[in-house]
Symmetry: C2
């Protein structure tokens, strides 16, 4: 079966582009610089559902995304997580955290209400992130 993005992930995010294994999405919440990586592998729920080679590829793309967010947002800490309790499709959160952000030091999930980007802000963010991720437009 072809890969299809979970509709809840699609609704909550703005597409950034494709890395070799994953689709990179920007969480539409301007409180946190927050990228979600979705391996384009149909039916995967847990990391160990991927082949070993794809797991190694994924750790590389988590690294690429982490470095991009470090450059982009100069965070105090990165949070990396594959939870999937609400949306079963395997996806990895990579989040740039600041000690001054709305959730610190708690995890970001379920804290307050998302502050969507304006169209203009979203365009600027996506442009900056595609460049830093080495994704061609």
């Amino acid at each position: 079966m072809p890969f299809e993005l979970d509709p809840r992930l699609a609704a909550d995010t703005i597409p950034v582009g494709n890395l070799p294994l994953t689709l990179a999405l920007l969480m539409n919440d301007s409180r946190f610089p927050w990228i979600i990586l979705v391996p384009r592998i149909d039916g995967a729920r847990d990391l160990i559902d991927l082949t070993y080679d794809d797991q190694v590829c994924l750790v590389g793309e988590i690294g690429t995304t982490s470095r991009a967010l470090r450059e982009h947002a100069n965070p105090d800490k990165l949070n990396v997580a594959a939870l999937g309790n609400m949306v079963p499709q395997l996806h990895v959160h990579v989040i740039a955290r600041q000690t001054t952000d709305a959730a610190w030091p708690a995890p970001v999930w379920g804290v307050g209400t998302a502050t969507p980007y304006t169209d203009e802000e979203a365009t600027v963010q996506v442009k900056a992130l595609t460049e830093k991720l080495g994704i061609s437009a």
Copy 2:
């Protein structure tokens, strides 16, 4: 500098044993089968602070731990996360989640109060987990 376990991680957990890269710890909270992997690399805070080879090794040990917890607890979902907002020393949570557990579908962090294992329970858990992780006593 030699590796030294963060005292807060030490206080909250029960040692399971060493994998090639990481020290495996059992979170002392019987509500959730929950292992923490701590790479024995002094000064690491984020995943990308590890060398690429160590990142690949870590993803293998996350896989080993995930499979051990699947066998051990037959979870509905695995949660894998490197947060480190409270304890800066790099550590990876691998948690077996049930749809009936005390936090579902929320993440486990900050939910209620830990229920420590009795000494007897801890001994049983550690014995089972060392076997499933292939750690020799």
